[in-house]
Symmetry: C2
Subunit: 214 residues, 2 copies
């Protein structure tokens, strides 16, 4: 009866406003999941914020899990500070970029909170965001490691094996500082602390420390 290759002939063609509406929903979801967590946040709250019913949201995204996954990838796109989507600065510029990101993030508590809460929550059993964060960290560690290699090459230094440790550490400080900063913004200077720590770690890779703890 129908064409066997129906998909080819017809692409359902969604309405132009739909895309904007999806963005609104995703933005609301970032805020709700960020402030309540994924398990704690509800479709109802998200729906309220965009003036819709929760069923309307399910119409667009199918399920709560699916919504989270799209929130996570959407965040990467809109996140000005994100590395993956932009043209990646190489070498030392990457580290400067990370520091700048930390300073920028100090004015975007909402998104920072979403990221902190969801990444930590993702380590729980069967969390729908787990794979996303696994891949994300793997990618980011790779970017940072590459930057280290470039910098070492530039300075004629043999790239030490500490690069892997340092790459993970740099991402770790940034994340860890965000937690402390969210809990008590006055007690921690997110930008300056990130800058300090990143410099310390980069420095330590370039000129291996004298092992002060030995």
């Amino acid at each position: 009866m129908t064409e066997s290759t129906a998909a080819q002939r017809r692409q359902p063609r969604s309405r132009p406003e739909t895309l904007a509406k999806r963005r609104d929903i995703l933005d609301a979801a970032v805020e709700i999941f960020g402030s309540k967590g994924f398990a704690g946040g509800t479709l109802q709250e998200i729906a309220d914020q965009v003036g819709m019913t929760h069923a309307g949201i399910l119409h667009h995204f199918g399920s709560k899990d699916q919504l989270l996954l799209e929130v996570l990838s959407h965040r990467d796109e809109t996140d000005v500070a994100d590395l993956e989507e932009q043209h990646i600065p190489g070498g030392i510029a990457l580290f400067r970029h990370l520091v700048r990101t930390a300073f920028v993030n100090a004015h975007r508590a909402g998104i920072v909170q979403a990221y902190v809460v969801l990444s930590a929550e993702s380590v729980t059993d069967d969390h729908p965001g787990r794979v996303f964060f696994q891949k994300r960290y793997e990618t980011l560690r790779g970017e940072v490691a590459r930057a280290f290699e470039v910098v070492c090459a530039e300075r004629g230094v043999a790239a030490p094996e500490t690069i892997e440790l340092a790459s993970a550490s740099i991402l770790a400080v940034m994340d860890g500082l965000q937690v402390q900063w969210l809990l008590d913004p006055d007690a921690v200077d997110l930008g300056r602390a990130s800058e300090f720590a990143i410099e310390a770690i980069v420095d330590s890779v370039l000129s291996p420390s004298t092992s002060p703890l030995a």
Copy 2:
């Protein structure tokens, strides 16, 4: 009729086994909240693990929130690696202690996960554990800062203002590395990375870096 100061004459005296039972419940709660989060974990699951009904647990702890609070303080007591309860090593010994803690933690994924999940979740709105973690980080930053001051004094170095940044950073790397390690244990060496980062930061406080990013 009855004695007016009844409370004075009799202290209800709970049964001796009760204390052990409470410990069991707390241990189960650490495991459940650690693997599912606080919002995601249920009293039923905890009850199942200790062979009880969820009402039995409420009998002991009153509410789920209260249970979490007791889990958090209980954890500090049983956590071999914790600083507050033990006699705190001063100066450089503290940093060595932190490194050792990281190596030990690499064999205790369960507790690490509980800590990671709950601390991050605590930044969400009205989370019952929020105050606990605020105080905890404040205390820990203080301990680390004091260690830095001692070390600086020992070496006749004027204590720089970077101490506060460094203190927050050291705790931050440790936490952040735990997240990455939990997501992908093979990709991150929790002990060695913590050691590397802590050394780098301590080193940077003692001999201020040459600002490689400037």
